[in-house]
Symmetry: C2
Subunit: 163 residues, 2 copies
DNA sequence: GAGGTTAGTCTAAAAAATAGACTAAGTCCA
DNA sequence: TGGACTTAGTCTATTTTTTAGACTAACCTC
């Protein structure tokens, strides 16, 4: 099975990995959420090779996560912006940043602070249930395969239990 | 700047990318949360090259995300388990799965369903503010650099604004 | 002792990432 | 009119990483 085949599996993480599964994409996305839009700014901030950056921005465009937009003419110059699909990666980047903050920095030494505009607190957002509003973690979720349906592809990678 | 240097930056996403920034790690983690523990199970489910899988499991161990545990003697065989640090990646995998679900599958065709044990609903968890309990997205967060402090390294990649 | 199981390692080939020079198309300055 | 600057890339040769697939170790069961 080629990597292309893997990414076409019946698995949302496989689809997401086709877009974000490499050294740089999460870092590039994180810079987008910090306001970065231009090729040279990404390149200098991340110290990413120019060829690699061009390839990544191309792939993010191909997957409709960002789009290219002229910000001046004469000479025409383009910048990159998040699409709605791209903006919807905010929870992924935020939870990853929280994890990195927790395990690689002391609380008083966090490099970036995130303030909730509504209530004014500096926060690390938490995952909650949209129905009962309780916090959610690995132990509070039961995972199962979608039932097989005629006409739909088989789900191969379901939950497993040993013994 | 080498990749090793990038990953030592004052940035939680850079640290996290040192662990998870590649084709396979998010998929491997996602399988861990589905209960997978053994080398051959990961290998068969993901169709990952055995060499690559061995390298990834090694790296996840080096970063204290998983640990190796004997599950039988004669012949002794090892399985892999998530550490607390690994279990704390649940919000990352879950939000990524939600994003993949939203953009790559119809609602009635989601491959994996997640039920909140407490209230019984099938859910896609949402990100909320731990202080005021309101949902949080990119627009509701204001980001800033930690103020420079003597004795602490400079934060180089802060938010930027054009014009 | 033949064949099976599990968790890897080994090797050569293919693919991807990298550093760094270069290009295009305009600007601004003198 | 020419030289230096800006920005968003491309080009090329080299290095690094990934890959496929055969092989190994150590013990089991028949």
């Amino acid at each position: 099975m080629s990597w292309e085949d893997v990414t076409q599996q019946q698995c949302p993480i496989a689809r997401a990995s086709a877009v974000l599964g490499d050294r740089w994409s999460l870092l590039i996305l994180s810079d987008f959420f910090l306001g970065v839009r231009r090729f040279d700014d990404f390149q200098e901030r991340l110290n990413i090779p120019r060829t690699t950056l061009a390839n990544r921005l191309k792939r993010l465009q191909d997957h409709d996560v960002i789009y290219k937009r002229a910000y001046q003419g004469q000479p025409i110059r383009y910048e990159y912006r998040l699409t709605q699909k791209g903006r919807d990666l905010f929870p992924v980047i935020t939870t990853l940043a929280s994890w990195g903050d927790r395990y690689y920095f002391n609380e008083s030494e966090l490099p970036i602070l995130r303030q909730h505009k509504l209530c004014g607190h500096d926060i690390q957002p938490v995952l909650t249930c949209p129905e009962c509003h309780e916090p959610v973690d690995a132990d509070s979720i039961a995972v199962r395969k979608r039932p097989e349906k005629p006409g739909l592809p088989t789900v191969k990678r379901g939950p497993i239990v040993y013994q």
